[in-house]
Symmetry: C2
Subunit: 242 residues, 2 copies
């Protein structure tokens, strides 16, 4: 039996996964931040990522449905409130639609998800199944990518505002709000896994869940890059920029 | 209520889906057949496709577990026998391993699936979930891609034998066997959906299932192309050819 890592070592290991695998290192995001994407490529990104966003509250509800501890539930349900808001013009999903509106995409087309890449759909489905089927510890651990999103979002917002003349601050309301929400959510999840992963095997399962989630995010950018940047082969039935 | 298509029209519609979306049209397969892939690229293909192959008997067992009709089960179980054989050196999966062996891949590494692309894993999982969750009609319909595999396999075998000096006939035993099996399986499934899809909506669901399955196959080649051909960015943790 291997002894568990000390709490600080365990956290270091998780943070190293982000340094190596979080999607801010992906060539698609690097192009985005460098101002090198066309409007059509940004449209493809917003359109595909909408599907991921739309599944977030389902993912959080699936996790919530497995929490027997009321305190845990009270904390976790806030994610769903943040995302869904109280009406159609509120919440994270509405803010994402504001972005796709601003990029000139038809809202009904975006919400239908008809034009997304199959690879997007498969990655998102894998995420949803993961939180349904794995242990609660692993399901919560899969949200730990939020540990790395704050600096990534900060960099992205600054870059997008300065490098794309059609991007305005109000289009980026989603990210602005996440700058405050993500660290709170991530800190909570990090405390939880540090406390609940008591054995080395449990710590391993937490690390593997975080790697899995990094792959879910990374692979969505792989298919965007493949389809809309290089070689630029758009699969049958997927969105084609004008 | 829309009237159902006549049987021949319905079959035409299904065959047209294959003409537009079956993965023999994918740029990765075109390169393969043109003899333009390196050995490393073929290794990546065989390694990733192994995972798809390994899930086929699980997929067929999931479908079998939903068949209340004994005659149907007797027919369908043959797929599992074909795939798994009676010992480790028999069956479709063993023949796939013979191919990956012949390409110089370590057998344990292949079977571990450690080095496959996340996009492969997600696509295969989506396929397995599809046959578990959709109607039996849709689950069977998703196998209809076999209608298009015979000519694709024939072309591929001839091309690989003539264009890659490290490919020998015994490495391609998997495909040779499928040349006989696939048409039998496909004809059965085609007869089934033509008989059982009685309404227009059911016919639509059959067509959608076939499109879904085409996307499962196509998207596996998208991620191979992206990672190993162009731009050639291999995701963290995935196989790197020597």
């Amino acid at each position: 039996l291997t002894a568990p890592l000390a709490s600080q070592e365990f956290e270091k290991r998780l943070r190293r996964i982000g340094e190596e695998r979080y999607h801010d290192k992906h060539p698609f995001h690097r192009l985005m931040n460098a101002g090198e994407l066309s409007k059509g490529q940004l449209q493809a990104w917003a359109l595909n990522r909408y599907h991921y966003q739309a599944v977030i509250p389902l993912k959080d509800a699936a996790i919530l449905s497995r929490m027997e501890d009321v305190e845990l539930r009270r904390m976790w349900r806030q994610r769903i409130v943040d995302h869904d808001g109280d009406s159609d013009d509120q919440g994270g999903l509405a803010r994402w639609i504001a972005l796709s509106d601003g990029l000139g995409l038809d809202r009904r087309y975006v919400m239908s998800t008809d034009g997304i890449l199959p690879g997007t759909r498969f990655a998102v489905e894998a995420y949803l199944n993961f939180v349904r089927e794995r242990s609660l510890l692993e399901a919560i651990a899969s949200s730990l990518t939020e540990l790395f999103s704050r600096s990534a979002i900060g960099e992205r917002m600054a870059a997008m505002l300065s490098r794309y003349n059609f991007i305005t601050r109000d289009l980026l309301a989603y990210f602005e709000r996440r700058l405050a929400q993500a660290p709170r959510d991530a800190d909570f999840a990090l405390d939880y896994v540090k406390r609940e992963a008591k054995t080395f095997d449990q710590q391993q399962s937490v690390a593997a869940a975080l790697e899995f989630k990094c792959a879910v995010l990374w692979s969505q950018l792989d298919v965007l890059y493949y389809s809309y940047v290089s070689p630029g082969f758009i699969p049958p039935g997927a969105f084609r920029p004008n």
